[in-house]
Amino acid sequence: MNEETKVIYEKPIPLKNTYNAPYWDAADRHELNVQKCNTCGIYNHPPGPSCANCGSIEVTWENLGSNITGEVYTYIVSHRPFLPGFQNDLPTVIAVVHLEDYPDIKIIANVLNGNAETVSIGTKVKMVWVEATEERSIPQWVFA
């Protein structure tokens, strides 16, 4: 391996399916797309075939753009890789973040470059997109 070798993304890449494809398709364009219920008005995340709050099938998608900020609601700092690809990225901070402008939406991702000293409940973060492959990008959090 030399310095010019492209870093291969070894971590699991989100699998698209019927319900989550609009979310991950938007992520590939570096945008956040969230399912919303037209009947009761809640954001339905993670997305599904109908609304988890009222059961309505009148669900649609709302594009929230690329300027996404939030606060750490809870988190863990993992010192062991429990899945492939994380062995070179320890410690790994896994955080549940509630969005500043949409507090009923919580999104789990890593806080990149975070550790036990720098991340706590309430830490302000913003969304970035890590390009895993030429086609796929993964939303992540960095310090705001």
Binding site: K11, P12, P14, N20, H45, P46, I76, F82, P84, I94
Partner: protein
């Protein structure tokens, strides 16, 4: 459930040898545990007409177990599931007995949990993990692939909001390890844990150190459930089911959706209503302990310690033998062994029977006992037992 109060009982308990490498199949472990439980009850294999088990693609079928005990059963049932499955299967057994379809049911959990398929140890492919959970694609790509991480997300916030500290987790661990010192069959027999050692141990995944994680073991456990009426024919002291709540769930199948609720919150009111007792009446406990924090969260959920005072409750030594609620007195899954909760069921039955009378392992007051099961924050069940 009020209608069947004290109408059903656990009349036999048994376990196989416990090891890190059994060298035999889960079927042989299950047969060993089943034979011990049948002998404990004073029954013969042909008296068992229902066989049930839970597993996570790591075990043997109830039909196989019945076959190699030389029995053709009337009912077999196997389910995919972990903690709290024992409670659910007991409820199913009661339903089948109540409707006259079987008389006596043997329920077991058998696994080579260390030498075979390990929990969170890579037994499932990454794609299976993503597809297997509701919203799996939203957690697996971020490295959240094991229960320690999933439950840790709940623990961090709960501890933050309720003034719980690392030391409080340590009190759960040191109390259970202390119990294990009275149990020669416990893995950590002869390996006590001091708070000083605990506090020096690094996190594997915060807020959990290796001591906060349950063990992995190769073993099988079995219990036998029948009617209290039929229990009169058994040689064992029947332990009656005063009430139970088989299996409650949280509001969303993607349980990270609301990390402030756990299924035990929903189990507790049903449980006490079914049993007709209050949390203050409970004197001894088996509390599902896949992780130390899970015990703290259940003490709160089941009202065994007041919300906001759970830390003080464990710091005061209340989980120890001389405390208000001796808990997991064989050492629990943190220090005895791990069969997705069933080893804790065996211990509480033995405590209620007063099998340890005359030794320092017998809890003084065992009139009313609680046994809880926890599959995860999302799924739980529990029962209250009496003599």
């Amino acid at each position: 459930m009020e209608k069947i109060r004290e109408k059903y009982a656990i009349v036999g308990v048994g376990e196989s040898n416990r090891s890190k490498n059994s060298g035999v199949t889960p079927l042989e472990l299950a047969l060993e545990a089943a034979r011990v439980a049948i002998a404990d009850a004073g029954l013969e294999a042909k008296d068992i007409d229902g066989f049930m088990s839970y597993s996570e693609m790591d075990s043997c079928s109830p039909h196989q177990v019945a076959t190699y005990l030389g029995v053709r059963p009337k009912v077999v049932k196997e389910m995919f599931g972990g903690g709290s499955s024992t409670e659910l299967l007991i409820a199913e057994a009661i339903g089948l007995i109540e409707t006259g379809q079987v008389n006596t049911v043997l329920i077991y959990r058998s696994m080579n949990g260390r030498s075979g398929v390990r929990m969170g140890g890579g037994g499932f492919s990454i794609d299976a993990l993503q597809n297997g959970f509701d919203g799996g694609s939203f957690i697996i790509p971020y490295g959240a692939g094991s229960p320690g991480q999933w439950f840790g997300l709940f623990a961090t916030r709960h501890m933050h909001l309720n003034g719980l500290t690392q030391e409080h987790l340590g009190h759960v661990c040191t109390s259970f390890y202390e119990h294990a010192q009275r149990n020669p069959k416990a893995f950590f027999y002869g390996k006590p844990l001091t708070m000083e050692e605990y506090m020096k141990t690094a996190h594997l995944s915060s807020p959990f150190t290796k001591h906060d994680y349950c063990l992995e073991s190769d073993e099988a456990n079995a219990i036998i459930v029948t009617s209290t009426e039929r229990a009169k024919d058994c040689k064992s002291v029947p332990v009656k089911i005063l009430g139970m709540a088989a299996r409650e769930v949280v509001s969303h199948a993607h349980y990270w959706k609301n990390i402030d609720e756990v299924a035990a919150d929903y189990v507790a009111p049903q449980l006490y209503k079914a049993a007709g007792v209050s949390p203050e009446d409970i004197k001894v406990a088996s509390i599902y302990d896949c992780f130390s924090w899970v015990v703290l969260r259940q003490l709160e959920a089941y009202g065994l310690a007041p919300k906001g005072e759970v830390g003080d409750f464990v710091s005061a030594g209340n989980l120890r033998m001389d405390g208000k609620l001796p808990t997991n007195t064989a050492g629990g899954m943190l220090s005895e062994g791990y069969t997705h909760g069933m080893n804790n069921v065996l211990e509480i039955v033995r405590q209620v029977r007063r099998e340890y009378e005359g030794t320092d392992r017998q809890v003084e007051d065992t009139e009313l006992a609680i046994c809880t099961g926890w599959t995860g924050p999302d799924v739980a069940g529990a029962m209250i037992l009496c003599k």
